[in-house]
């Protein structure tokens, strides 16, 4: 499908409803961290003759639609948190654009950006580190109101009480300090703070990972309730596939700085196409002994490679049971394999979406019918 290939840089993975406008449109976003090396001195000493770049986010393009929850899943070091932060410019992007209401956040001045931040909020993973221990709950939740000049004095206090009640905390807590609260309660405080400025879009960066199972359910339900009530849009970042499956409308899978598959939550779970997603889904333990006893698990070999100078071609080729020679050279693009289902793998195509059925050595996604000369094709 050469047409799909060439058009990819211009077209963007869309949801089924083409007319729905994206709230956040991310275009070829990159975040590279320079670890140094490659200078004259480095060459002389011979320590780091090559400049080392961590390509934490490397060319991500995706739309987030109003009112949806986009789940972003991947293993540690894949760049999912960096992507979430880069959207809000808590980490400066190296390249690319992030459009919010047709304004490119990535290129706004600091002052302009500050104004927009009111609509874009974040909830952090660690409810112990993200609340100032010297501020009372009232001050923490009330601070954004003051910063943006929304409410003052008595009115602000009432607003804070209202916010606490919205997230299921008693308004009596207003004078207490963070250490007096449990992890789940602190996460509620973090949510109240994010909600204070009445945002459109919230990045939830592993909001439940530090919590107990029974509390995880409470926080997920709270986030869903708030979404319905306030028409919020979420980017829900997590490594927990069961949680992602539960809260998301669509899911994007990330591996070493790149998105490798996008589809709606159910499809990703029931019919993953990209080999990495397949392995990821099959690795999730299912809380049912009867299912566990019978299911086949794809156990990947080896570890995630270092994001410093990641593998060439498809970044997953070092661990992929289906990799062929071409995978080491060609960088796969996200292609719409099925309607609204995008995957980045040169070995699959809309004609043959299931890699198990692709003949050894064949890469139909690269160009239909073309055989790749390969000596060590996949089993």
């Amino acid at each position: 499908m050469s047409t799909q290939q060439t058009s990819l840089n211009e077209t963007v993975p869309q949801q089924t409803a083409d007319h729905v406008e994206a709230l956040i449109a991310i275009r070829d976003l990159k975040v590279h961290f320079d670890l140094g090396g490659g200078g004259i001195l480095d060459k002389l000493i011979g320590n780091n003759p090559v400049r080392r770049l961590v390509k934490a986010v490397d060319g991500v393009t995706i739309d987030i639609f109003s009112g949806e929850t986009l789940g972003l899943v991947g293993e540690s070091g894949c760049g999912k948190s960096t992507l979430g932060r880069a959207i809000l410019r808590l980490t400066e992007p190296s390249d690319g654009q992030v459009f919010y209401r047709n304004r490119d956040l990535a290129h706004l001045s600091a002052r302009e950006l500050r104004k927009e931040r009111r609509h874009l909020q974040i909830i952090f993973q660690n409810p112990y580190a993200s609340l100032n221990p010297r501020m009372t709950i009232g001050q923490i939740v009330g601070e954004p109101l003051e910063t943006f000049g929304l409410h003052r004095g008595k009115e602000a206090e009432e607003q804070v009480q209202l916010l606490l009640e919205t997230v299921g905390l008693s308004k009596r807590f207003i004078k207490r300090y963070p250490h007096e609260f449990s992890g789940g309660q602190r996460q509620r405080i973090g949510i109240a703070r994010a909600l204070a400025v009445d945002p459109d879009f919230i990045v939830a960066d592993e909001p439940i990972s530090a919590l107990d199972v029974s509390i995880q359910a409470q926080i997920m339900n709270l986030l869903e309730k708030l979404q319905r009530e306030k028409n919020l849009t979420y980017l829900f970042i997590s490594h927990d596939l069961r949680a992602i499956r539960h809260v998301s409308d669509r899911v994007a899978v990330m591996y070493l700085g790149k998105l490798v598959e996008i589809a709606d939550a159910r499809t990703i779970y029931e019919e993953p196409l990209m080999p990495y997603t397949k392995a990821l889904i099959s690795a999730v333990p299912v809380p049912d002994p009867r299912v566990e006893a019978t299911r086949q698990r794809i156990v990947l070999e080896g570890d995630v490679p270092s994001p410093i100078n990641p593998p060439a071609g498809c970044r997953f080729h070092t661990r992929c049971p289906y990799a062929i020679d071409a995978c080491r050279k060609v960088v796969p693009q996200l292609v719409e394999i099925k309607p609204a289902h995008f995957a980045a793998c040169i070995r699959i195509s809309s004609q043959e979406p299931h890699i198990e059925n692709v003949a050894p050595g064949l890469a139909p996604g690269l160009e239909t019918g073309q055989r790749i000369s390969s000596t060590n094709s996949a089993k």
Binding site: S76, S214, N221, R242, A283, P287, P289, V299, D303
Partner: protein, 338 residues
């Protein structure tokens, strides 16, 4: 050895308390269970439920002060570990009962080569010479799937990834051929795909060596796939114990039931997720009566002031609840209609 009758480990009425500024925390309060040879037992519970303290108590690793094993018996092969002199306990630890922890980085010495850390074990416990211990270390690394073990044995812990470090920990734990392996959240710090590798490895090694395993985890999915029996702990007490398949299909305790329902099932339709209301208990200030009563859907008058009995539901299914039989019957009726 009159106590054994097929049991490798038998724990009776174990109580481990901690003295804190807040008062006495009864971290483990009257825990009784047993483990058969070759079996895998899962212990689930939320943070503070006492699952880790139970296992530290078994090998007497409770820091004293502030902790104290107040009472109880731990029969290992018929011998009560609680009555042994420290010197003898030390000989059991590492050799006959091995442990792996959640964070493999903090359990390995960063200044010592892997080879030395592995050799220490067998030199101390099995009386290996340096040469024997070195070869054994390589063999162990090889058996846990570390590629090029002969070269890697000379590395330091920081040169390994998280998953590889956990493999090293497992190699170390198994190097003396223990009868019991206690794995405390062994995969919690790892990524899903690496978790799958480690769990497969533990399964494989268990089959090969016949080691019994106690697997402590908060992940019900891991329990479902790995264990023969499960214990559910809450507020320092065993709330339910049953064979794994039975616990998941016919839970006899409201807490277990709530826990099972609050985990999203990825294979099912995603409706509203069930949530257990309220917060995990403050173990220093437990309410009179049932510790789960403030969060329980089925709470009755009696639960508020009377501590629940441990009800035997079937031959090896127990539940700590005033209404265990009703809860169990309800599970049964639901499983037949499905």
């Amino acid at each position: 050895m009159s106590h054994t009758n097929g049991q490798l480990l038998e724990i009776r009425d174990l109580r481990t308390y901690f003295e804190t500024e807040d008062g006495i925390v009864k971290a483990v309060d009257g825990v009784t269970f047993s483990l058969r040879r070759g079996e895998t037992l899962g212990i689930v519970g939320e943070s503070g439920s006492g699952k880790s303290v139970t296992n530290l108590s078994i090998i007497r690793l409770i820091p004293d002060p502030p902790g104290k094993i107040v009472s109880g018996q731990v029969f290992f092969n018929g011998q009560d570990i609680m009555l042994l002199p420290t010197e003898q306990v030390r000989r059991i630890r590492g050799r006959r009962i091995a442990m792996i922890f959640q964070d493999p980085m903090t359990s390995l010495n960063p200044f010592m080569k892997i080879s030395k850390q592995l050799m220490e074990m067998t030199q101390l416990h099995l009386g290996h010479t340096r040469g024997q211990a070195y070869e054994h270390a390589i063999k162990m690394l090889d058996s846990v799937g570390i590629p090029a073990a002969r070269e890697r044995v000379e590395s330091y812990p920081h040169e390994f990834s998280g998953g590889m470090r956990q493999r090293v920990m497992i190699a170390m734990a198994l190097s003396c051929g223990p009868e019991l392996l206690i794995a405390d959240e062994p995969t919690t710090a790892l990524d899903v795909t690496i978790q799958a590798q480690i769990l497969e490895l533990i399964k494989k090694l268990k089959e090969e060596t016949g080691t019994s395993v106690i697997l402590i985890t908060h992940d019900l999915g891991v329990v479902a796939g790995m264990t023969d029996h499960v214990i559910v702990m809450y507020a320092g007490k065993v709330f339910e114990q049953a064979p794994t398949t039975e616990l998941f299909s016919l839970p006899g305790n409201p807490y277990t039931k709530g826990l099972l329902r609050s985990v999203p099932d990825p294979t099912a339709e995603q409706g509203q997720l069930y949530q257990i209301p309220g917060l995990p208990p403050d173990v220093a200030h437990l309410p009179p009566g049932c510790p789960f009563a403030p969060r329980c859907e089925l709470v009755q008058e009696v639960c508020q002031h009377e501590f629940p009995p441990l009800v035997q539901l079937t031959a090896d299914h127990f539940s700590l609840c005033h209404f265990a039989r009703e809860v169990y019957a309800d599970s049964e009726s639901k499983s037949t209609t499905n």
